[in-house]
């Protein structure tokens, strides 16, 4: 039995310590945003955020997550109330098949959290570990820039300390 904190809530997990986080998210917690792509940490579809850093959940064993905070796409926003990054990806229509997009959004979110105004080069460099076979790369770039703008205007609109 292990305690796992996902999107701010604690869950008791019954699984071997070598079980990849991705399996726990999808099979035990029914959080299906993170995708199984290659299972090798090579495609990025399974990316989630742990303590502010984007990681591949398919190769991260449960034993490393004791006392850490996991954030998945479900933790950023909902269909009714999407987060800036989700809103921006919809507005730019940055998904075609969409399989890679959840992972892309998570790494882009981690980037925006530490660098609110990334350049094209910053985004390209950061999203390097992600593969997209549909070829919406240019729209993904635009969407990350738009998310940065949305986050900034949201930050300005909200009173200090509200976020």
């Amino acid at each position: 039995m292990m305690k796992l904190n996902v999107n701010g809530a604690d869950h008791s997990i019954e699984a071997d310590p070598d079980t990849p986080l991705l399996y726990v998210l999808r099979d035990d917690l029914q959080m299906n945003a993170a995708k199984y792509g290659c299972g090798l940490g090579q495609c990025g579809a399974c990316t989630v955020i742990v303590d502010g850093e984007a990681i591949f959940s398919c190769i991260t064993p449960l034993m490393l997550l004791e006392g850490r905070k996991v954030t998945t796409l479900e933790g950023l926003g909902t269909i009714a109330k999407p987060s800036p990054i989700q809103q921006a990806f919809m507005e730019e229509q940055a998904a075609q098949c969409g399989y890679c997009i959840a992972g892309m959004m998570m790494r882009a979110q981690a980037l925006l959290d530490r660098n609110p105004k990334p350049t094209d080069d910053d985004i390209r460099q950061t999203l390097q570990p992600h593969l997209c076979r549909c070829g919406t790369h240019m729209r993904i770039l635009k969407a990350v820039h738009r998310a940065a703008e949305l986050m900034q205007s949201a930050g300005k609109a909200a009173p200090k300390g509200a976020i």
């Binding site: 070598d18 299972g39 991260t60 064993p61 034993m63 490393l64 460099q125 950061t126 390097q128 570990p129």
Partner: protein, 462 residues
């Protein structure tokens, strides 16, 4: 008090004397500036040969800043003495080598003196380039003179007194520079000699792979005994090589041009740029370098061969292996020590699914008993790999590994490194792992920032 003052006075006089003497020694005439050459006056065949020589010499690796224009300089080179910034070697008149004649270029390559007559720092490996032939210098010169001119001034070097005083390098040259040209060894084959010319000269392999003395010069008596490069350990590549499976001409050849070998691992850190460049040059040149390096290593002992053969036996050689990765995480039993040894548990849970997958490199991770990183004197390279992984090399085939720096604590990285050393090598326990972890963390943060383009003054030709 008086004695102290006297001592200070004597030291001052001595220092002034040394500076004065080196100033005389170091005097070099300015070579007359030339008008910017018209790129079309260079023979395209010569330019092409220069491009290959530039790749063999990794010129762009140091002379290009991260995100900067090729050959425009500005790349910081950390040395034990301070930071030196690589210069702009594009044909820009003001900030590059636009006004340099071939004679000035050749003098820089052979004596470490720029066109104006200033000493260059030996971070620019003229102690190797001094062996480059006249013909090859002419080709390199033609190649550089036909690059787009970029106006970019490298930042000032960050060196303490008296090292910021260039004339003292005349003393360094007197002690450590043995001028070329390359002397072939008639007792050896033409291929060995070609390899020696490339490795010792333009390739400047010893600049990283040889240890350096307190004054920053390569220790000749310990050539290729292993050295330092940009926070990485450059492995021993002479007879004392610690590679678990002895290198051969063929494996060196494949490794140098592909950047990895199934029985040895992956070229990473500063070696990645070297193998990327060697993938672009004629195969015959890489083979000649492999012949020479294999000769440096010598014939392995019967014991080394037997040990190597035992390690290779039973390794998968073809195909993608029998087990899909999705099954991988549950296929490796926890070692009996896992309960008491956190490093063993980390290996079994986080590493073994690839490193014991039954898939050959590059489809699976290398068996760690083959890895030279685990045999080295310092845990440095292993820790870089654990923290930052082996990112995919854009456009090239090869193994990759995700980094684990984001999910492993410093203590866990240290526990893992200690366990791997004890399990996969018969070498003594590492010390100083903690400081290496801190250095690797810092390097990975810097790599994140490296995507930012450097400041360019202006581009005069586009």
């Amino acid at each position: 008090m008086t004695r102290l003052t006297a001592l200070a006075q004597v030291s001052l006089v001595l220092l002034a004397g040394i500076i004065g003497a080196t100033a005389i020694l170091s005097w070099h005439a300015q070579i007359k500036p030339v008008d910017k050459a018209n790129p079309e006056t260079f023979d395209p065949a010569l330019v092409k040969r220069g491009a290959l020589l530039s790749a063999l010499g990794d010129c762009s690796t140091c002379h290009t800043a991260p995100g900067g224009k090729p050959y425009a300089g500005g790349m910081p080179l950390p040395t034990p003495f301070g930071t030196i910034y690589a210069t702009n070697i594009t044909p820009d008149d003001e900030t590059g080598i636009g006004t340099w004649s071939l004679a000035a270029f050749q003098r820089a390559m052979r004596e470490g003196v720029d066109r104006e007559g200033h000493q260059l720092y030996p971070a620019f490996p003229y102690d190797h380039f001094t062996q480059v032939s006249d013909d090859d210098n002419a080709a390199l010169f033609a190649f550089l003179k036909t690059r787009p001119a970029v106006s970019a001034r490298a930042p000032d070097n960050d060196l303490p007194f008296p090292l910021n005083h260039r004339p003292i390098l005349a003393g360094w040259n007197l002690l450590f520079l043995s001028k070329g040209p390359f002397q072939p060894n008639p007792a050896q084959s033409a291929e060995w000699n070609r390899g020696a010319y490339l490795v010792e000269g333009i390739g400047h392999c010893g600049a990283c792979h040889s240890p350096r003395n307190a004054l920053g010069a390569e220790k000749r008596a310990q050539a290729f005994a292993g050295g330092e490069a940009e926070g990485w350990h450059a492995f021993t590549i002479n007879a004392a090589s610690k590679s678990p499976v002895p290198w051969t001409v063929d494996s060196l050849d494949a490794y140098l041009s592909a950047g990895w070998h199934g029985l040895h691992g992956v070229a990473r850190g500063p070696m990645q740029a070297v193998s990327d460049n060697l993938s672009q040059v004629p195969a015959a040149d890489v083979h000649a370098m492999a012949v020479y390096v294999a000769a440096l290593m010598g014939t392995p002992s019967a014991q080394q061969t037997t040990k190597g053969d035992a390690l290779v036996a039973g390794l998968p050689t073809t195909g993608t292996g029998s087990k899909p990765q999705s099954a991988g995480s549950q296929t490796v039993p926890l070692p009996v020590t896992a309960a008491s040894d956190p490093g063993a548990a980390l290996y079994a849970n986080a590493c073994a699914s690839c490193h014991e997958s039954g898939r050959p490199v590059p489809f699976g991770g290398i068996k760690l008993s083959l890895s030279t990183s685990l045999q080295a004197e310092s845990p440095r390279n292993l820790i870089h790999l654990i923290v930052s992984g082996i990112p995919a090399n854009p456009g090239l085939k090869g193994p990759m590994m995700p980094g684990f720096g984001a999910v492993l604590s410093d203590q866990q990285v240290a526990q893992l490194a200690t366990y791997l050393r004890a399990t996969f090598s018969s070498q003594p326990t590492w010390t100083g792992i903690e400081s290496e972890v801190a250095a690797a963390r810092k390097a990975s943060k810097l790599a994140d920032l490296a995507g930012a383009p450097m400041q360019i003054v202006s581009t005069t030709s586009r």
